[in-house]
Point group: C2
Chain length 210, copies 2
């Protein structure tokens, strides 16, 4: 099972590494970090550098595609070379997935037209402008496309994907292996749960603000 995780300048690290940690533990799979050019790729904070060992041209028909988000998603939405790769790879993929604003890149590639999809909660309007129907759910499955909510949702998405591909047992074993028994110290992880002033502040600071 060949799994390609797309990297690009100013990606969000956990968007990529959450699914990586889950998917790389599946049997007989090979996860490949891919980018336009192989080499080190910096994240949105610019303190982290992850190596893309493969160029897009090296990996033409991965069975699973994972597209993370991050501020660099804006540039990717206009990058015809990357969008062409996504469209081509999607034709033969078994699953095409995104985390956070990665769904905006799938949308820009034309993959989400008329489909339910999710994204970071601040990006629903942009997602709608790309022809998708935004859904406030953690993981949204439409045919072979799976979109996940913001950043940390990639872990839940990947476990869901493993259960579809390999069955419940392997997904549960990986969950136990990474001891994913989440106990956040606060209940502040979605705009319906966080304090109103925190939601308002993040909306105000958002790069998606009109």
């Amino acid at each position: 099972m060949e799994i390609a995780i797309l990297l690009f300048d100013r990606f969000t690290a956990l968007d990529a590494v959450g699914p990586y940690e889950v998917l790389s533990r599946t049997p007989n799979s090979k996860v490949k970090f891919v980018a336009k050019e192989p080499g080190p790729i910096r994240d949105n904070i610019a303190s982290l550098e992850l190596t893309a060992e493969y160029s897009l041209a090296d990996v033409n028909s991965p069975e699973i595609i994972v597209v993370p988000g991050g501020p660099g998603q804006t540039a990717m939405m206009d990058d015809q070379y990357v969008l062409d790769w996504i469209r081509r790879a999607h034709k033969t993929s078994r699953w095409t997935t995104s985390v956070c604003t990665g769904s905006l890149i799938l949308g820009a590639a034309g993959l989400l037209k008329g489909l339910k999809a999710t994204s970071h909660w601040l990006a629903y309007d942009v997602l709608r402008s790309l022809g998708a129907e935004p859904v406030s759910e953690r993981v949204v499955i439409e045919g072979k496309i799976i979109t996940a909510a913001g950043v940390s949702a990639g872990i839940d998405m990947a476990l869901t994907l493993v259960s579809r591909v390999y069955g419940h047992g392997p997904a549960q074993a990986i969950q136990l292996g990474i001891e994913y028994d989440p106990q956040p110290p606060f209940d502040s992880g979605s705009p319906t749960k966080a304090r109103a002033e925190i939601v308002a502040r993040l909306r105000h600071q958002s790069r998606f603000r009109k």
Copy 2:
């Protein structure tokens, strides 16, 4: 606020990147990935390569230390150069933390003697052999030492740490920013919750098995 995350050959990627994603979003902080020698460091699966931009000698007194786990922890437990660095840095740190089997490295450095601590659920016996009192909790705070359970627990640990250092508001804002409203598809994330045969299989396959 200088935050050092230790990297070493065969670390577990999410152990390091979970806390990174949380801690790097705090105001006026700088996260530095450190290793014995700067350069690309491979994870336990060997598909991921993260750059350590700093050597241990470059970063002498970080305010926060994060030690991840992974199979490479065994070599670190015998590496006097690394253990010396941890002991020295711990003298001036505000917080010294670990994720997963990173606590075994703290234990090998002599930092956990007589203290409650946690680790990956498969590593409690080794933790005990290092003089700590293993506790089956997600995040354990003893003075300025915080240990987290396996792999994904680093996210909960880092949010807890942010709430201690910066207050509840900033921690809640970061939780909302990374949309950490976990909804795993199964309830299989701890040995008390997973199916008995899955727990038994992971115990059987464990590298900590006597």
